[in-house]
Symmetry: C2
Subunit: 443 residues, 2 copies
């Protein structure tokens, strides 16, 4: 193993993501966009097409290593999001978020299916069960929102704790769950060994188990944090819990590991040392893991096998992926008495796709779909991830411009002043942003 | 790649190292010992001998990943050691401390070499260049002092700021520098085809280049830290520098990457934001990378070929490691007009070994030394770390019993109070210690 090369690659990734992140911030874009663009510029995705040299030339070994770091990065982002979940707030936005998430799954899924059909030989070709399943699967890929980028953007603007932010976060988490259930069910038709009812049962069981065990663990950490305040063992054991939950979710309950990480974070939220844990996770995240994750999206992007037909499909796929979320989530938000602007904010906040879309796509291909089809969804998914990641923060920034309402806490300050204070403090601690920390955030 | 399994392995490593680290601290041993022992207990080193199950069963993939994390851990440990070098303090206690450090490197190195020879086939076997190099390397492992435990003991007795305490602290820092230079030169010879003069030249060139470029970089960071105090870019660019130096040292100058990391740290020491950089590196180090490194030593340890001969060698190795420091440092201290008692105190204060000895040992094994030799120094080094860590505080307490003189400061407090205060503060921030941080260390 060429460790020295990995160190140099890491140095290049950290420098490029930070440098482009700062540049992006200067022109009013969130730093995560800079990190993804940095990945495109330092990796072979663009230069490789011309046979040119690029600073990062992934080998099988280095890809393996950086994929691992990136996965830990995703886990940390979701764990951190879980830690920052305010349970009391989530409870109050529960029903609305569920309805929004349901629409955000159904509409893009239907549109994705409809867009896939013409590229797969038209409706007559759907008599072949496999083709029909593949068309449905194209829709499935569009279901899962990637909260990472949206969370970063909202945090950067200090809107994460507002009504819209909380709704987006809750809905995105719920649509992850729904998306994974849908994925399991669809894949269940392909693979006769996996029973869709069993999948549904396991998902339900995971949440029941997580709540039951979570209460005990919450009490355990309450004691630990009180007995050993500001001791290293508190965030370390917190991270241990996060990794264990991620593993158990993936291996025991066949749910995405990131769902486990998020639930681990929720388990430890609303503790006196929650912010302390979050800070330590945050430092790890922004110093190494998170830049590697975002850069890796750009570095591993490939434009090979890119026919005109696939490109046209990709454009349609991206378009319905983005429009489907805005229409689906926005319309339901409007029905739930959000204002027009807030409804658009919610819709725009749900368009970003990321690691889950890639994972879902890969799972489909691994499951035997898209063998010898003209449409391999990998490149379109990468297009979607890049474009939606670029578009989400731009749209959010536009839609929040001059908007003061998002910063208001859902509950009156008088009743819940502590929560409001927390949101103000936690605002500058986002993963990739260039915020002053240290003394200030320790206050 | 089985990411979920890697997450579980990480959780097991983090939990076990922290848990055993806390236990070890309770019985007066450094936490690194707990981390290595944790690795032995969770890995296959012991249980595998009986064909039993162990929590961590490394696969080719997971070994690859964890070796990468461990290497980053080592880099961070050495970078942090470099950052904590206090140039001003070194200057003030300079000459005596330098002489003591030199003797503390030379004597244990010579004794280690002499003790290794009989176990390697006697002096006649040294005609084989590799065997000779291995014998020298046994000596090199004995050079680096770990002040952590000594500092804690002296602080507890109120003797840290005294003449003896200051001298020990400075000498320990200087012997890190000397040890790194010696290590670089010796590792440069590991390739039998390499020209010894070229190796020496490259090592010298590296240090010249590092100093020349280092001055510019120091000024650049001085500007950066002043312009953007407590901004994330400062520690991130610091880490970038560290990784680049490590890469350049290894690939351009054929010196160990840890040398580069250490020098990168020295380049950034004595800046206004040095402590801030060190804190962020420290959080990354103790949350993930450093536990993985120490646990990995235990996990990858092998007791195959653990013979009576190796055990005897281990005892001799530990003995000369301890006696060599007491004699070497003590004698030179006596020559520098320390009293008999003070000289013994200085000698006893230098015997403790810790993470750097483990790092150096692993570096040698990675570099291809001790392949198929009867003597694998890993177990002896672990013995040395444990025994010297236990012995150092006992000896110091005995030697300081009833001693009132040590409490007097070497320089008047009025002149140098700030530096002394800094050394007290930075003392407990070693890599694996369970120190309350947060508010306290931010002061």
């Amino acid at each position: 193993m060429d460790v020295a090369q990995i160190l140099l690659d890491l140095a290049i990734i950290l420098f490029a993501t930070k440098f482009l992140g700062i540049l992006m911030k200067k022109i009013g874009l969130p730093q995560v966009v800079g990190a993804v663009v940095a990945g495109l510029l330092i990796g072979p995705a663009i230069w490789g097409k011309f046979g040119w040299w690029s600073p990062i030339r992934p080998t099988e070994e280095s890809s393996f290593f950086f994929n691992g770091l990136a996965e830990i990065g995703v886990i940390m982002i979701l764990f951190s999001a879980g830690l920052e979940t305010d349970f009391r707030e989530l409870k109050s936005s529960g029903l609305k978020a569920t309805l929004i998430a349901l629409a955000g799954v159904a509409v893009p899924m239907a549109l994705g299916f409809l867009v896939a059909v013409p590229f797969m030989g038209g409706f007559s070709a759907l008599k072949d069960g496999t083709v029909a399943l593949e068309a449905v699967f194209i829709g499935v890929i569009l279901t899962a929102t990637s909260v990472g980028i949206t969370v970063e953007t909202l945090k950067e603007m200090g809107k994460l704790k507002g009504k819209v932010g909380t709704t987006i976060l809750s809905a995105a988490i719920i649509d992850d769950v729904i998306g994974i259930i849908v994925l399991s069910v669809v894949l269940g038709f392909k693979d006769p060994s996996s029973n869709p009812w069993k999948t549904l049962l396991m998902t339900a069981l995971f949440f029941v188990a997580a709540i039951a065990v979570g209460i005990l663990i919450h009490l355990l950490f309450k004691w630990l944090a009180k007995r050993y305040p500001h001791k290293r063992r508190v965030p370390i054991f917190g991270l241990v819990l996060c990794f264990v939950y991620a593993f158990v979710a993936e291996k025991v309950f066949s749910i995405a590991d990131i769902t486990g990480a998020y639930i681990a974070g929720v388990t430890l939220c609303n503790l006196k040392q929650t912010e302390y844990i979050d800070q330590k996770i945050d430092v790890n995240s922004y110093m190494i893991f998170s830049p590697v994750f975002f850069a890796n999206i750009g570095i591993t992007a490939s434009f090979d096998g890119f026919t005109v037909s696939l490109f046209l499909f990709g454009l349609a796929f991206v378009a319905v992926g983005i429009i489907g979320k805005i229409i689906g989530c926005g319309a339901v938000a409007r029905m739930c008495r959000f204002s027009n602007r807030e409804s658009l904010q919610v819709g725009a906040g749900m368009i970003a796709r990321g690691e889950v879309a890639l994972v879902v796509c890969r799972k489909g291909i691994q499951g035997g779909l898209f063998n010898g089809t003209a449409i391999n969804p990998l490149v379109p998914v990468i297009m979607l991830v890049i474009l939606s990641s670029l578009l989400a923060p731009i749209l959010l920034k536009l839609l929040f411009k001059g908007d003061k309402s998002g910063a208001l806490p859902l509950t009156p300050i008088g009743e819940n002043g502590e929560t409001a204070a927390l949101s103000v403090e936690s605002a500058p601690t986002e993963t990739a942003a260039e915020a002053p920390d240290g003394q200030a955030s320790q206050a």
